[in-house]
């Protein structure tokens, strides 16, 4: 459902990757690996349409993502490096804002999502009083609300504790089993039964 052809990216006169081909089908996880600075975040930003310094074709369900940007964005949930959490707003206000932005964040209630990320009792305090991990949880709470078919997650497990990581893994597996696709970068080794995980290593690509 997601196809990338001939993707090349060059930044500051340095080739990050070139001639990249891959597809992500419904029910698959694509894990992008690579050293720091190998271009993982740049690749994800390109896939989301947040960067235009690339050459090649990216298509979603047969349609070019640049030409049909609005339709593509409707289907896409992106959680980036920056959490997208406003420090002066409370967890609940942040989630409500995300819901306004993304019409597909409509599954279940906010309180449920906050309970599932373990932020019950913190919903009314401004986010700057929360720890880094808790802020990450606020940002990830939207995964529980999401009915987007495609998730693009940049290092979703940073700052999370072990229990949090396991819960998010299960969430991603549930999403994929329900026919969604997921592209993520992480240094974390997935060991999940009966889920197709493809791996794309940006280091090997540049070495080859």
């Amino acid at each position: 459902m997601f196809t990338v052809k001939n993707l090349s990216c060059e930044r500051d006169d340095r080739v990050l990757f070139s001639q990249l081909h891959f597809t992500v089908q419904a029910g698959e996880i694509l894990q992008i690996e690579g050293q720091n600075g190998s271009g993982k975040t740049s690749l994800l930003r390109i896939l989301c349409g947040l960067s235009s310094s690339f050459e090649g074709n990216i298509s979603w369900r047969g349609q070019d993502t640049q030409a049909h940007h609005a339709a593509y964005c409707q289907q896409l949930l992106y959680v980036g490096h920056h959490a997208g959490v406003k420090a002066a707003l409370t967890a609940e206000e942040n989630l409500r804002w995300m819901q306004t932005l993304q019409p597909l964040l409509n599954k279940g209630s906010l309180t449920d999502a906050l309970r599932q990320v373990g932020l019950m009792g913190y919903e009314d305090v401004p986010c700057y009083t929360l720890s880094a991990g808790q802020q990450r949880r606020v940002s990830l709470a939207r995964l529980y609300l999401s009915s987007h078919p495609l998730w693009i997650l940049d290092e979703p497990f940073t700052a999370l504790d072990k229990k949090g990581v396991v819960e998010k893994e299960q969430l991603i597996v549930r999403h994929v089993r329900n026919g969604g696709g997921c592209i993520l970068t992480t240094h974390h080794d997935f060991d999940l039964p009966d889920v197709t995980i493809r791996r794309l290593n940006l280091d090997q690509l540049s070495a080859a």
Binding site: L50, C73, H81, A83, V85, A88, W97, T100, L101
Partner: protein, 222 residues
């Protein structure tokens, strides 16, 4: 429309929680004006003559001061990225953000201005012209300034650059704004000045949102 009210509400809530961002430009406005009687002359005749210009220049600089942070925090914490990958319209976002910015800057400046007019011995028949011209002129300042703020949001030190980009475009507003107050002082009709200020506001309201949206895209996708 739902999205639009949500932006305005969110930005107003944020402004009320970071009060110093709202109070700083207002304090700047009042302090600058309060310095003139000390530095120039405390005489009624002198002050009342230069009052329209001083108040308008101070309002313009105060608006400029408040613009730097318009998109900064949204850029830094990733909120702008999220808006760009959402199906919502960036131009609508721009209008919403500018509206709440204006309510917290230009609108409050206009409300404060009668007080400062008294301080500078501005004849009372010109106070209406002062408030009216500020109410009609400052939205244009916010709209044009937001283009500059959007263009420089990705730069680490964009503050000075905004002034350089935006100040030349502020000059017509300044001329007609201060001109309206001068005309008010002399007891001449001000309708023509206000109509021109209104026309500039409508014109910038039509085009600035798209320019802001394009500038934001450029800043994020660099």
């Amino acid at each position: 429309m739902n999205f639009f009210t949500a932006i305005v509400r969110r930005d107003l809530v944020l402004a009320l929680r970071n009060r110093n961002e709202v109070v700083n430009p207002l304090a700047f406005f009042m302090i600058v004006i309060a310095l003139f009687p000390l530095a120039v002359s405390p005489e009624t005749a002198v002050l009342s003559k230069i009052a329209p210009g001083i108040i308008w220049v101070a309002a313009l600089l105060a608006t400029l001061l408040s613009l730097d942070g318009l998109f900064k925090s949204d850029f830094d914490d990733g909120s702008l990225e999220q808006i760009l990958v959402s199906p919502q319209s960036l131009a609508l976002l721009a209008i919403g953000k500018v509206l709440s910015h204006w309510l917290m800057s230009g609108f409050l400046l206009a409300l404060l201005s009668p007080l400062l007019a008294i301080m500078l011995f501005l004849p009372s028949q010109a106070v209406g012209a002062l408030v009216g011209s500020l109410l009609l002129g400052t939205p244009t300042l916010s709209l044009i300034g937001a283009i500059g703020a959007a263009l420089t949001v990705g730069l680490r030190k964009g503050g000075v650059l905004i002034s350089l980009l935006v100040l030349p475009l502020y000059i017509p507003v300044l001329i007609f704004g201060a001109g309206a107050v001068q005309a008010g002082v002399m007891g001449m009709p001000i309708a023509g000045y206000l109509a021109l200020l209104g026309a500039m506001m409508v014109f910038s309201l039509m085009f600035a949102p798209f320019a802001i949206a394009a500038a934001l895209k450029l800043s994020i996708r660099n």
